[in-house]
Symmetry: C2
Subunit: 104 residues, 2 copies
């Protein structure tokens, strides 16, 4: 089982795979290819989320910050519950692979 | 914050950093450089563990399997509570970076 090999095609939309689902935690792999959050859309989540970019490139923006953060492989951040954020950009030329750990 | 840049020196011993600690989950980065579990030692953990190898190479052995599994970047596996396992080998020539998510 490898998170970086034989990636699913994501041209038509992000592909989300749940790797672990347990009472207090859910681990997902998300493959993006050029997708971004819709204009004006902000994630506003009940759960905390720790996110790690494994491959590719993305820009993530927090509503309480003026500029998006550019993320590359190895970059990670923790998103507190209800901290509004959006994906401004993912690289359209190569798959971007995210690991997301949602928890309480 | 990047998990793959400016790695700590691990020649003298594995370096464990806790990235997230919450009631039901703990996320750690572990940097190894040639370490292995002591002869005859087996991990026997109360918690479940999901482990992802981010960089480098390692061999992980389960007590209920005859051969060690060779892990490279992107390889992941889930270790049930009390499933005994050990690290047979990590690459002595380059740092091996693990991500471990412990949960209930």
């Amino acid at each position: 089982m490898n998170l970086l090999r034989d990636l699913p095609g994501a041209r038509a939309g992000e592909v989300i795979e749940t790797l672990v689902a347990a009472p207090g935690v859910r681990i997902e792999r998300i493959v993006s290819l050029g997708q971004a959050s819709l204009p004006g859309f902000w994630y506003d989540q009940e759960e905390a989320e720790w996110v790690l970019l494994l491959q590719g490139a993305a820009q993530l923006r927090f509503a309480d910050e003026t500029e998006a953060r550019l993320l590359g492989p190895g970059d990670h951040l923790h998103i507190a519950p209800h901290r509004r954020h959006r994906v401004e950009w993912t690289d359209p030329r190569q798959p971007t692979v995210w690991l997301a750990v949602f928890h309480r």
